[in-house]
Symmetry: C2
Subunit: 706 residues, 2 copies
């Protein structure tokens, strides 16, 4: 039981209490390998600090607060009660200064954007409904007032927004227009006779839809509408519109409807709002980026309507940023539950007369959980980078148009991958826990229900990736202004990604990746870090170049034909964007490792990074083979490298999920509480006692042999 | 609008009413292609008959019954009310003879096994809780009495089982043992002094768990326990044990607990049962396969304990069979909703000045939905084959040990693929419908919640595939008794799958596939049917042969080492089983096409089959490349073949989902009701009227040009 001895060593310096009971003694199918792999250990404190990232202090503060059960999701609670519970929890957040971090000192805030997002993300551990309802109130409704409005708006409304005296809805999406915000139908027509805007829903498809706080609690809404003055449509702008009176009744001209039961997040009162010629003061236009004077004349500091529109939307990027972080934390929680259970639950003996095998000793079970754990680590590191970019731009330190654009592209790249990963990981964990995983008390199904919508809200994932793809194409095209298709194709061949994308403002591919040499020794007979990087980066570059070549003729076609050519390449453009995001995650992981001093931590995290890299390469193995990046022989070996890494990492799996530092109040799932270990121990004790009692029945087979 | 004209042609002979409103006029991004592809049309009646299969009459009867809203799932219903509603619906089923089809004429039944399963499967359209609670009562609890008991048991209990006067639980799974039934801990010890069995739960892990009807409604249970008599354990047998009195209180020695809220299926009262020395008459042993006489002596017609155990389990295969069918029907329903919506919802204009594009005209959207539709078709045909096999065995016409084993292997192969496909398809449809897809009223989230557990109950999918893999290996090994590894490897190379598996009892690979020549012309420049078949079948054969070679040395190793070698190959063995199941589905699809006389139907379904085949090949493209089955050049073309097929099938998508024949009472989702089309039409009418009124605001850009 060498392995058990190693496992019971918990660093004395650990500052987190491992949830899920005492460290377990995994029974390894390959003892020799486990012993070999167990020599290094991660330092839990070091890794916990790495995972919690730049705003670790805020995350720990938020985690302390949500140890209070009033924040916890109650399964099976009727919708109406869940909504009231979520609202009540938000009031407690306010009392604990959880709502003001992003706002100016003037309003009691900290003006600390990164910390604000970090704090909200942790709420996903308590109840995703609270996370998202908070996001609606302070991240969308409040941010619209703060980011799109000016001082008078801030003074008038922000104090009540922060204190939750004024709950509000963020009315952008319409029944007929989700991702395509520019095409919304709601109109805001200026009437100079009364100095008012008239907000109107001209047809049913223009009804505002799916708005949190619109179903019940909201008193006002930030409404996106086509601004029309003097017979000219100046495009989408945002307006502050009261919707309910103090008693909760719809104001004149306002019709709200309740969306009713949803697939999850039922603590949020989503609903619809229809406007029938609703008049609001002219000054309710949130006029930071565009204003209408009393005489109806329009002015803006941003002359280009397109750039103005995207500037306004970009001011609200924090929704995407926070979903990336919350999805990553939720994935880690699911893995904490499934790995803990898999280290305690036994099923089938191996046919070798040994005790029943714990689930995580099955190679397939390792394959199901460990690569997903590797990606979750990569996401945590990539997210911290995203959050630092966000904090730089919104804190004003790096607030340039180029940095804003980079931030938006990075958010659009990372949010799709992490939110899809959350659903995939939570589902795999659910299945890996069998029937237990389907019980609401074990959290996994609730997490899946609640996070389901993350993949299509705050930007549909496919639409976001398409945006990223277009950005990659346009960066690429900038290199070849005026060159013809053949020259472009010739150029693409053999270029490093870093050169092609140089100056593109995105992470400079092929650069800034920490110390590849130092970690390169990790996989014997495998693909070294530099080889992983070359494959991942080369794929992005080649895919973009290939699509650019195929789209090149479109410039000479009619608009209809050009649209058809683009449509033919849509799937691949989305794949290229995904490849780009994967590369960014891999690079973030590699950079994070470069900071590690502790030798055991470095070694284990390097294996985990290698597992992530090889998993990505395996996912796209056909591409690498077709494009001659890997020979058939080396391609065939990728899967066995992954199996090898899984076996190596298997003894570290519990450490790697414990390092997230979730307390029992965050985990809560009975199957990860140690109860399964107690049951297994009781069963083994029963059989041991029976055997020594001499009362044990003999087997039929044994009788027949006589 | 040639396309619209074609679309409005609905065959006059159609016997089903298309749900989801009138046929729509899709706007194709490539009109020429749509016109070309629209020339053939499927005949809806023909395809509906094909899809409903051998027991179409029963399916239509069941669908008529569940048009009554009392059967419909009500979203957000509190658990307690949902449970009562499901029970009430089952009483209505009884009144309409929905519970007796499988049982003997003696009890008012039809002794019609295939029809029975077909009828239950359709209930998934109403409320999966009703489907599964019915399955527990009549398919598990009732079947255990019928299949494992003898005449006295039938006479005593079946009438009340059928009438629902005696609701019961099927107590096999324990907290500590799910898939590994042989290792359950519950004991049934014979006491000759009182002529009773003593049923006992010796430790917490042996508590019966997740049992439908155990939480609340069940009055008795069929309990699986280790049969011990005369100091010998004869292995797992099944016993009839009363658990509650007429007032619903636990009987002495019985402790039931409620599982509470689950991820779905909350209309079922799952729960736990613990037995504390519960005494039942000796004759409550369901003794068809093993009996204990009054003196305690054990007898069985099946001398081998192992074969006896598997015979008893095999008698209950119908659960897996019915999940395969229900999962397929649920997938079809999800696609009906998503395709209908995608033909009506518009998002973004193409940049070509044309109207906004309907979702299904986006290449990526086609890629998301159409291959899944193709697989759903394949599953329907494969399921009918499975159901015929089941009906043959259980109806006694083909009830041989070999046929039983084949049936069990076929069920174990198909159920994992179709239940995973259901989750994947429902989720993709949910996302493809955006925010609407997350609203409970649109059905998709509820279907996902309810079907989630299908992938791990009635046999965990990975465990089932592993069983199939072992069967493939043992069939393979039979060919090479006594040959050494090298001979085996030499033999494997170049053999056709049909020869390798000849006599294996599974579907004879490479044989019985209908008329490949006739359908081979389908894909110009693509992979013909015979090429698809060769790739799919060759992959199964090669994978099994490779694993066999790698496992060969295990016979010379110690049990512990041999277990380690097997574990190293576990993932790949599961993959081989999946490849086998995929091949079976492809062959079933091809066989189904061979029966089609109508030329348009033949052509469109052949494209759909090709799409399925190519999708499978694309999924495993790296394997085909590594093993030299496809050149890099041909491999690279697979994706573009798929794109081409998607574009061809796009104008037929509505027909292909309408052909399932779901009535509005089965679909129920507002987004597939035509409401979206009405909203879109109203929006376009508004803009058209505005344009002609002369009141339309001009755009800012237009003003600036002046």
């Amino acid at each position: 039981m060498v392995d058990a001895v190693v496992r019971s060593h918990t660093p004395a310096t650990s500052k987190h209490t491992p949830a899920g009971g005492a460290p377990t003694a995994p029974h390894s199918a390959d003892e020799a390998q486990a012993v070999e792999a167990s020599e290094p250990r991660i330092d839990l404190v070091t890794v916990n600090d790495l995972l919690l990232g730049t705003w670790a202090a805020t995350r720990r503060e938020a985690r302390e607060l949500i140890k209070d059960p009033l924040f916890w999701r109650v399964d099976g609670l009727p919708m109406a009660e869940h909504r009231e519970r979520a609202l009540a929890a938000m009031h407690v957040l306010v009392e604990n200064n959880g709502s003001r971090r992003a706002f100016p000192e003037k309003f009691g805030g900290l003006n600390d954007n990164g910390s604000n997002i970090a704090g909200f993300e942790e709420l996903v551990l308590a109840d995703p409904s609270i996370q998202i309802k908070s996001g609606v109130q302070w991240g969308l409704f409040g941010s619209a007032i703060y980011q799109l409005g000016t001082e008078a708006h801030h003074d008038a409304w922000l104090p009540d927004v922060i204190s939750l005296a004024l709950p509000g809805a963020f009315a952008m999406t319409e029944i007929g227009h989700g991702s395509d915000v520019a095409a919304i139908g709601t109109t805001a027509t200026y009437d100079p006779d009364t100095d008012e805007f008239v907000i109107h829903t001209p047809f049913r498809a223009a009804t505002k839809e799916y708005l949190g706080n619109a179903g019940l609690h909201g008193r006002a809404a930030t409404v996106f509408a086509q601004l029309i003055t003097g017979g000219v449509n100046y495009g989408v702008h945002c307006f502050f519109v009261p919707i309910r009176d103090a008693a909760g009744a719809d104001l004149p001209g306002i019709t709200t409807e309740d969306d009713g039961v949803k697939g999850g997040l039922n603590g949020i009162d989503n609903g619809r709002i229809t406007f029938d010629q609703v008049r609001i003061p002219r000054t309710n236009l949130l006029n930071r980026y565009g204003n209408v004077a009393a005489d109806g004349s329009y002015s803006s500091d941003i002359p280009s309507p397109g750039r103005r529109f995207f500037t306004m939307l970009g001011a609200l990027v924090q929704g995407r940023v926070s979903l990336d972080g919350a999805a990553t934390t939720a994935s880690a929680l699911a893995l904490k539950i499934a790995v803990t259970y898999a280290n305690q639950r036994r099923q089938f003996d191996s046919g070798a007369g040994t005790p029943e095998v714990v689930l995580l000793d099955y190679a397939k079970h390792q394959r199901r959980l460990l690569p997903r754990l590797a990606q979750t680590y990569a996401q945590a590191f990539a997210h911290d980078e995203l959050l630092r970019s966000f904090d730089g731009v919104f804190g004003g330190r790096t607030d340039t148009p180029a940095e804003r654009e980079n931030l938006e592209t990075l958010a659009a790249a990372l949010k799709p991958l992490s939110t899809w990963h959350a659903l995939d990981t939570i589902q795999e964990c659910r299945e890996a826990c069998g029937g237990s995983g389907f019980m609401a008390e074990n959290r996994l199904v609730g997490l899946h229900h609640d996070l389901d919508i993350y993949v299509t809200f705050e930007g549909d994932n496919n639409v976001l990736l398409q945006l990223v793809g277009k950005r990659l194409l346009s960066d690429y095209a900038k290199q070849f202004k005026g060159k013809d298709a053949a020259a472009l194709a010739r150029f693409a061949v053999g270029q490093t990604a870093g050169k092609v994308f140089h100056g593109a403002g995105l992470r400079q591919l092929g650069q800034n990746v920490g110390d590849l040499g130092r970690t390169a020794r990790s996989v014997e007979r495998g693909l070294r870090a530099d080889q992983q990087h070359e494959l991942l980066a080369g794929r992005v570059q080649q895919m973009v170049a290939d699509i650019a070549v195929r789209l090149r003729p479109a410039s000479k076609l009619s608009p209809v034909e050009a649209a058809a050519v683009f449509n033919e390449n849509q799937s691949e453009l989305i794949e290229a964007a995904r490849a780009h995001a994967e590369l960014l995650q891999w690079e973030s992981f590699t950079d994070a490792i470069a900071k590690v001093g502790d030798e055991g931590t470095l070694r284990v995290l390097t294996w985990l990074r290698d597992l992530f890299g090889l998993w990505l390469i395996e996912k796209h193995l056909a591409w690498h083979l077709i494009h001659g990046r890997l020979s058939a022989q080396r391609g065939a070996a990728v899967s066995s490298y992954i199996d090898r890494l899984c076996a190596r990492l298997r003894p570290h799996a519990q450490d790697l999920v414990d390092a997230w530092g979730f307390a029992p109040e965050h985990v809560r799932a009975p199957i990860a509480s140690g109860a399964e270990q107690e049951r297994q121990d009781a069963a083994r004790a029963y059989y041991a006692a029976l055997a020594t009692s001499g009362q044990a029945p003999v087997s039929e087979k044994a009788v027949k042999k006589h």
